[in-house]
């Protein structure tokens, strides 16, 4: 079963990396950019009976390690198309 986790800095937390990338794009002429935030994607392949069971396991993995609950939010996509 394949799953994908998208990890993002929580809203309201300054994303300095995103700001730097935004400024670089603005320097390339993309003046229309208003906001840019950088996140992380984790792709997983796991043994699971069904998507519900897989999602529950991946959710646990996110809480235990993959995301930092102080600074990050995460969303899980499972199954993948």
């Amino acid at each position: 079963m394949k799953a994908r986790v998208l990890i993002r800095l929580k809203r309201g937390i300054l994303d300095v990396q995103g700001s730097a990338v935004l400024r670089a794009l603005a320097g390339l002429g993309y003046a229309e950019l208003r906001e840019l935030r950088v996140g992380k994607v984790v792709e997983l392949d796991l043994d699971a009976a069904d998507p519900t069971a897989a999602t529950a396991r991946v959710d646990e993995m996110c809480r235990k390690l993959l995301a930092n609950p102080v600074t990050e939010d995460f969303t899980i996509e499972c199954p993948l198309p």
């Binding site: 937390i13 300054l14 300095v16 990396q17 730097a20 235990k64 390690l65 993959l66 930092n68 102080v70 600074t71």
Partner: protein, 237 residues
């Protein structure tokens, strides 16, 4: 009193701490491998700086789930003290032994420089040899040292007098200009609610001999030694 210096793959300040504790302070010290769970022979464990596991995922994230760190709550519960500097501070936050998180420096630069630190709480095992309001000078060396905590966590830290060190000017002014990484309220170091786990971004081990340019870091070690003598830990072994 026995010190243990924890070594993860990618730790870089382990030898510095080992040298300061063993050679400068003449105290017994051993390295502790990150897979080791048996901490019974130690009174104080040091989590040094570096880039454990290459900072993969987040700084300190993987080390924060290692066997030695999983053994720390029990170590602390039976009276052990823990000092985490730089990556060690990041690991303690990742492991939930200290609240909050350390994020990329606001300036986006890796900052390797001398900093001044206002000591706000001198009632901990790590700061008892220091005068309240004293300013220490120690170096920092990090790219991810911006301390972040939610407002209710900050309120708890303040209420419990858990904010130990703040970045300041030479004369103790807690100003924005003196904040090297954008840490909330200039926080450079905090303790747990028991005052027995200290996390700080500065490097006390790099300010421990005149040849290093300063000896203010020794104040932390002298505080620790005084505490261990006074509570009888020394006599117990």
């Amino acid at each position: 009193m026995r010190f243990g210096v924890v070594v993860f793959p990618g730790t870089w300040s382990d030898c510095d701490f080992h040298y300061v504790i063993g050679e400068v302070l003449q105290q017994p010290v051993k390295y502790v491998w990150h897979r080791d769970r048996n901490l019974a022979e130690f009174d104080c464990l040091v989590l040094p700086g570096g880039f454990s596991y290459g900072d993969y995922l987040r700084a300190g994230a993987i080390a924060g789930r290692s066997p030695v760190v999983e053994a720390l709550p029990e170590f602390v519960a039976r009276g052990g003290v823990v000092l985490g500097s730089c990556n060690g501070f990041q690991i303690l936050c990742e492991a939930g032994l200290l609240p909050g998180a350390l994020m990329r420096n606001e300036c986006l630069q890796y900052r390797c420089q001398s900093t001044h630190l206002l000591v706000e709480n001198t009632d901990t095992a790590f700061t008892r040899a220091i005068r309240p309001g004293q300013v220490l000078r120690m170096p920092i060396s990090h790219g991810e040292g911006k301390y972040h905590a939610e407002p209710h966590v900050l309120a708890t830290l303040k209420k419990g007098n858990q904010i130990v060190l703040r970045y300041c000017t030479e004369d103790g002014g807690v100003t924005r200009a003196a904040n090297p990484n954008g840490s909330v309220e200039n926080i450079a170091g905090i303790v747990n609610d028991g005052g027995t786990v200290l996390g700080l971004m500065p490097h006390p081990e790099r300010a421990a001999e005149t040849a290093m340019g300063g000896t203010d870091g020794l104040m932390i070690f002298h505080s620790l030694l005084g505490s261990l003598v006074e509570d009888g830990s020394v006599l117990k072994r």
